[in-house]
Symmetry: C2
Subunit: 236 residues, 2 copies
């Protein structure tokens, strides 16, 4: 069975439909998406592997998911730190950042020194709306993610990868292969180029919406907000 | 160790502070509170004990927590149905109800016949802001909850109980003892009169806020959003 994926345009349309027809608020969806990411990190990188988690957040929704995930990771017992160089003025992101500041979670300015003193990196830089060029200050970050030997968990997409076509054919990001990928709502076409542990999260898509968009709601277990699947789509 | 509790006024102040100084939105808090409730129900009443869960929702935030819990219970594989006779015009509650309608979760009008064909009841009628009289149409509902042999899980307070003093000394609600109670953020003083399984949920209170309000963040396990405690406060 080939995995069913959701292209960049369809993912954007589904997102809009969840927040209009389906009556979800972005606060709700981001909370559940970030919670899924935190549960995947907990599986890939249990507490006894080292508690320091560096969460790299981009300026948009992917970064917001990272901020939520970092908060839940704090509550699980990790010591997250946040690299968030392009802070959005959007009120929601400002609130998510404040929630972390109230937990004394540090915001770091220098990614190079931060990655030298962490145990795991969450890549919440770019998501399904990414296309084109990696803008400053993120090229050096992608470069570091590509070179590090640390485990990296990417949110929805390995940052710098094209949503449809996967890694760039050469240059920055072309050899970036994260340890784990958390596909939110449904895998994107880039998953065909991914060779790590693959999770699906976002347990809020109704069976009828999944059907409309041509994918299947994966078989989550118990109260889990995330499920590990083979990149071919079967549950592991 | 006597359990540390949060009185009705303090609970209201904490709630306000979470949504002002602490920068949470009510959507976020309600999502996490309802998620906690759903996880407690999953423990008290695993799927093999019968999948039908009747969620009785009051007009306020307690009812909103119930709506969120019902949605998560649907995703776990239960068949929830909702009794929600006093629908709020508040936009958030309307959205939470729509999210259930999109899952074809039935809204029932007749509590007596609904309770005759369910396996478990969630009491999300009144929470920490309840005081005084049980208003129509809820007296008959409390009466039914008091008489049923079905397991009942109450959200934050057994409905009709005084938040400080517990069950009414006589009449309606005086012999209502739910099977399980999910205290949100911290137990309320009424817990001293409660003899069932006691859970604490709402894994979003910072250590500094808990300290300020004179209670302790309980020791949640792993990624759990709920923890079972003895009514004396120790973790089980």
């Amino acid at each position: 069975m080939a995995i069913k994926t959701l292209g960049a345009k369809a993912a954007a349309t589904l997102d809009q439909e969840l927040m209009s027809t389906c009556a979800f608020s972005i606060d709700q969806l981001m909370e559940l998406a970030g919670l899924s990411v935190s549960q995947a990190v907990y599986r890939v990188h249990p507490l006894n592997k080292g508690r320091r988690i560096l969460v790299a957040c981009g300026p948009g929704n992917n970064g917001g998911d990272g901020l939520v995930a970092a908060r839940h990771l704090f509550y699980y017992g990790y010591n997250p730190s946040i690299f968030y160089p392009k802070r959005s003025k959007n009120e929601l992101y400002q609130r998510l950042a404040k929630q972390l500041e109230d937990l004394d979670v540090p915001f770091v300015d220098d990614f190079q020194s931060a990655i030298a003193s962490t145990d795991h990196v969450v890549d919440a830089i770019f998501g399904f709306s990414f296309s084109g060029e990696v803008r400053e200050p993120f090229p050096a970050v992608i470069q570091a993610l590509q070179e590090t030997k640390l485990p990296v968990t990417s949110v929805d997409a390995p940052s710098s990868w094209d949503i449809e076509n996967g890694p760039p054919s050469s240059g920055l990001g072309s050899s970036f292969m994260p340890t784990a990928l958390v596909s939110l709502t449904a895998p994107k076409p880039l998953v065909r180029h991914f060779n790590g542990r693959h999770f699906i999260g976002g347990r809020f898509v109704s069976p009828s919406m999944a059907k409309k968009y041509g994918f299947e709601v994966p078989e989550y277990q118990g109260v889990d907000q995330v499920v590990e699947v083979a990149t071919s789509g079967e549950k592991l």
